[in-house]
């Protein structure tokens, strides 16, 4: 059942509507689908800044100082503060926003906390949704603060336009502890608490490490800040303002294009229609597809047929790898199924790109129960890329 959601409220920046839209997207309910579709053409204006780094490194303090400076320049700021959930209970104390103390009362600042788990389709998907809502609502800057561990952190920073890695002094050998993936995608390094004695050493270690990179053409700068006094903050904001990459995580024409394309593709897929598969979300290299298990999907043991689960995952994978607009075809696929699914359940498959070169791509798919985000199956597929435009049948 599609509900009427006041999209206009989001676009007008009404705080309550924005917050409720985010909740809908967190819940991945029917309204979410509508919201996502409606917002697709309104995103791409905000500058999305990802802030990552080891815990205790001063990220929150730095963000707080950035907000002060940005606000003094008349910019509206939204923050997605990601806090780790307990791996055992799923609960979380979302304490990051409180560390951004003085902005709690500023109407031009909107902070939303996001717990790291329990998100249908993964944390990166959830963060991307929240960012899109803020973008569409008209915030000039969206800052995403990530937890600092795991693959999802890399996924999240990938969706930012500018990626800052915050390193406190005294890291020493722990610089290696910063995930390799993060180091490669960083657009700038910030040495926080730069008034401490070890700051100089950390700065040189970072520079030395960057000198070893293969691609020396665009070496990320290493900036120093003392958030508590404001030192270096103005320079950092100037540098951010100079970045032209606004909205590139979503190439504005591309994002609309990708969504329209995938909708066309799945609409032209006879088998997808036959099984009852629906496109939920799409962006370059990712796709989310869902279905409800009906009597026609049940096997002789009274449970959802494995082939149906495979089809769901394969369709999501197929859409994800074809989202570039050129043909990609599965040449090797593998599924492992962890639990059985009953009639009436919703299944959601979320496909993301692991790697892609000129001829070959690697994708993985997580399949979960819609009801409670519990794990059902995962797939991995290798695709072969053909340099011809995708042609939807019958168009």
């Amino acid at each position: 059942m599609k509900n009427v959601f006041p999209i206009a409220g989001i676009l007008a920046g009404d705080r309550r509507t924005v917050a409720r839209a985010i909740t809908s997207l967190e819940n991945q309910d029917e309204t979410a689908y509508v919201i996502r579709a409606a917002l697709a053409e309104h995103v791409g204006r905000a500058h999305v800044i990802g802030v990552t780094g080891p815990p205790g490194g001063g990220k929150s303090t730095l963000i707080s100082a950035l907000i002060t400076d940005l606000r003094s320049r008349g910019q509206s700021v939204a923050v997605v503060a990601i806090d780790p959930s307990s791996p055992f209970t799923g609960g979380a104390v979302l304490g990051d926003r409180i560390r951004m103390g003085k902005h709690q009362a500023d109407a031009g600042v909107f902070i939303r906390s996001l717990a790291s788990r329990g998100h249908l389709g993964g944390l990166a998907r959830a963060a991307a949704d929240v960012i899109d809502v803020f973008d569409a609502a008209g915030f000039d800057i969206v800052i995403v603060e990530t937890v600092g561990a795991g693959q999802s952190e890399i996924d999240i920073t990938r969706i930012a336009d500018t990626r800052l890695v915050v390193c406190p002094p005294g890291l020493g050998d722990d610089i290696q502890a910063i995930k390799a993936g993060i180091l490669e995608i960083a657009d700038a390094f910030v040495v926080s608490k730069a008034d401490l004695p070890d700051a100089r050493r950390t700065e040189s270690e970072l520079l030395a490490m960057l000198a070893l990179r293969r691609d020396q053409s665009a070496a990320p700068p290493v900036l120093k800040t003392v958030a508590t006094s404001g030192q270096g903050i103005g320079e950092l904001v100037d540098w951010l303002a100079g970045r032209g990459q606004r909205g590139t995580r979503h190439d504005p024409t591309a994002s609309q294009g990708v969504r329209k394309l995938l909708e066309k593709l799945i609409g032209a897929d006879g088998f997808a229609k036959h099984v009852g598969l629906e496109l939920v979300a799409a962006s370059r290299g990712t796709a989310t597809v869902r279905m409800r298990v009906g009597p026609q999907h049940i096997n002789f043991n009274g449970r959802c047929h494995g082939g149906v689960i495979f089809s769901l995952g394969d369709t999501a994978l197929g859409l994800a790898c074809n989202s570039y607009g050129t043909i990609a075809t599965l040449i090797d696929g593998q599924i492992s199924i962890a639990s059985s699914v009953e009639e009436g359940e919703w299944l959601v498959a979320h496909a993301i790109e692991v790697s892609r070169s000129r001829k070959v791509g690697s994708y993985r798919v997580n399949i979960m129960r819609g009801r409670d985000d519990s794990y059902v199956a995962s797939m991995h597929g290798t695709v072969y890329l053909i340099d011809k435009p995708v042609q939807a049948a019958g168009t």
């Binding site: 205790g56 104390v93 304490g95 409180i98 103390g101």
Partner: protein
């Protein structure tokens, strides 16, 4: 200390011990292990194999002699009883005055003024919601309020404690009152109670107005000023009570307090002060829980450790510098809302623990602590409790009566071990300020609080009336204090307006300017400017507001 007492043959003792153990096991069987709040195992019996007393002079010493384990003065309560220093604070200055006179008439020998929560947060009465005024403390915003509060109170002869964190406006007001009454500041005695900014930053959070580093600087300014001009006043009261109330175990509370004391001492030394010039006026403020023996051991261990720190770590030479002086308050968190009259028994046990522990001054809680600011009756019983312990139970007759007990001496040593290992941990982190900024202290306290709550919820820790021995009760059966009269409070706010209208605007402006300027320079004594401002008629809210602007607003760092 496993050497048997000299006059008993070693093997005879071992045999007798084994005999008893056998009989005990037969009777008690598989009794659960007992652990106290500081996580120290408690045995059913202690004897000469646990503690032999052979190094009496080094480990214990006589009262008044290093390491002061048995007491900081040679005479202790035989010479002078502990001070009965009850906290008084409610309503308007006239209410405070009436209650204080009553307390003094009943035998209290010192007074402790606790201001309204709005004052704690640095605001005047005209800046806050009226409902919140005067409910937990007295509204005192300027020198004339203090005049009325202390009307007829001989401040030149009586020890007054002001519960007042940076920037110590209450003392400033009292000094201004003394000047008006022609009482020389050299005759003013008392303490800036709870002046320790670190403990407010970490726990309690009641008394925190200015950013931590600003508060830190003013503490040292305050010490310097008081040393010079009010030599009978103790400028620093380092607090363990907040942390223990927040859930720290007794050992943790003592350890963290000593760590804070180390910080303040180092700050003063860095200022160029000689340890012997300020250490004699450092005082401490602790919580006393109902865990009787553990508290006694905690205080005795504290005395011993502090003496050693002062003599060896800080190099103080004057024996007065090595003395661990402390005020203690019976613990409110042990008191219950259910069957509140039971709290009288609890307070009695807590008070005894403090007395056996050798405190210098004591506040006993009212039995209605869990649901009200004390009514007159509850306050009266609290003072009577101290009188009974002193004069009927004769607890002042013998110094350190539990000294020499195999249990208490062993426990004192064990508590010392625990406390010192925590001090080492904080030292390794870089000192108390660093440990607090990193959240280490808050985390440890939070974990202890959580652990204790789990023990209560599971029934492992009994709380009479709450998880055992409950009865059906009607909570409205017990009287609670009426809220301050709205009329009186409005009249108080009216008086504030009048005061502001009558004072010299130029004197106020000049004083605030001086205050702001001094706050922005490294030299210059901020507290001195606060005193000048108080005399010029500046209000508490104006002083705090100016310092917040210059030095930052105080936001405690909480960790869950």
């Amino acid at each position: 200390m496993n050497k048997p007492a000299a006059h008993i043959a070693a093997d005879e003792l071992t045999q007798a011990s084994a005999r008893w153990e056998k009989e005990f096991s037969k009777g008690a069987g598989d009794a659960d292990e007992v652990v106290n709040r500081s996580d120290i195992k408690v045995k059913p019996l202690y004897g000469p194999t646990d503690w032999s007393g052979t190094d009496y002079l080094d480990a214990l010493g006589f009262p008044g002699e290093y390491p002061y384990t048995r007491g900081i003065y040679p005479t202790m309560y035989r010479g002078r009883s502990w001070s009965q220093r009850q906290l008084v604070g409610l309503g308007v200055p006239e209410d405070f005055n009436a209650r204080v006179k009553e307390m003094l008439g009943l035998g209290a020998s010192a007074l402790s003024l606790i201001p309204c929560n709005s004052v704690y947060r640095g605001y005047d009465a005209d800046e806050v919601p009226a409902e919140l005024l005067g409910t937990c403390g007295t509204v005192i915003n300027h020198v004339e309020d203090m005049q009325r509060a202390l009307d007829g109170v001989p401040i030149g002869d009586l020890s007054t404690a002001m519960n007042d964190p940076s920037p110590f406006t209450l003392l400033a007001f009292e000094l201004a009152v003394a000047k008006r009454r022609d009482i020389p500041w050299t005759k003013i005695t008392g303490t800036s109670n709870q002046s320790d900014c670190i403990s407010h930053f970490v726990a309690n959070h009641m008394f925190f107005r200015i950013a931590l580093q600003g508060a830190r600087r003013i503490v040292v300014d305050h010490i310097e000023f008081v040393n010079k001009h009010v030599p009978g006043w103790n400028p620093l009261s380092i607090v363990g009570q907040h942390m223990q109330q927040a859930g720290a175990t007794p050992a943790e509370a003592m350890a963290f307090t000593l760590c804070s004391a180390i910080q303040y001492t180092e700050d003063c030394i860095a200022r160029g002060m000689d340890p012997d010039s300020f250490l004699p006026r450092f005082t401490f403020f602790f919580d006393i829980s109902v865990s009787l023996f553990e508290e006694v051991a905690k205080f005795r261990a504290g005395r011993r450790i502090w003496a050693k720190l002062c003599r060896e770590r800080f190099g103080a030479k004057d024996p007065r510098s090595w003395r661990f002086k402390f005020h203690a308050q019976t613990s409110g968190v042990d008191l219950t809302r259910q069957q509140p009259l039971n709290n009288i028994s609890r307070v009695t046990v807590q008070a005894m623990a403090g007395i056996f522990g050798g405190l210098q001054s004591l506040h006993t809680d009212g039995y209605d602590e869990a649901f009200s600011t004390p009514t007159t009756e509850a306050a009266r019983i609290a003072v009577a409790t101290q009188n009974i312990l002193r004069e009927e139970a004769h607890l002042t007759d013998v110094i350190d009566p539990l000294g020499g007990s195999y249990y208490v001496e062993t426990l004192t040593d064990q508590m010392q071990g625990k406390i010192e290992s925590i001090i080492d941990l904080v030292d390794a982190t870089g000192g108390m300020y660093k440990a607090v900024e990193q959240g280490l202290v808050q985390q440890m306290i939070g974990q202890s609080a959580f652990k204790f709550q789990k023990r209560v919820d599971s029934g492992e820790e009994t709380v009479v009336g709450v998880n055992a021995y409950q009865v059906e009760e009607n909570p409205t059966d017990y009287p609670s204090l009426e809220y301050p009269d709205r009329e009186r409070m409005n009249s108080q706010i009216g008086k504030l307006a009048q005061f502001k209208a009558n004072r010299s605007a130029s004197a106020v402006e000049k004083a605030l300017d001086g205050l702001a300027r001094t706050a922005n320079t490294k030299d210059g004594n901020v507290f001195e400017q606060v005193v000048v401002a108080a005399e010029a008629g500046v209000t508490h809210g104006e002083i705090c507001g100016t310092l917040r602007r210059e030095m930052g607003f105080g936001h405690p760092l909480t960790v869950v």
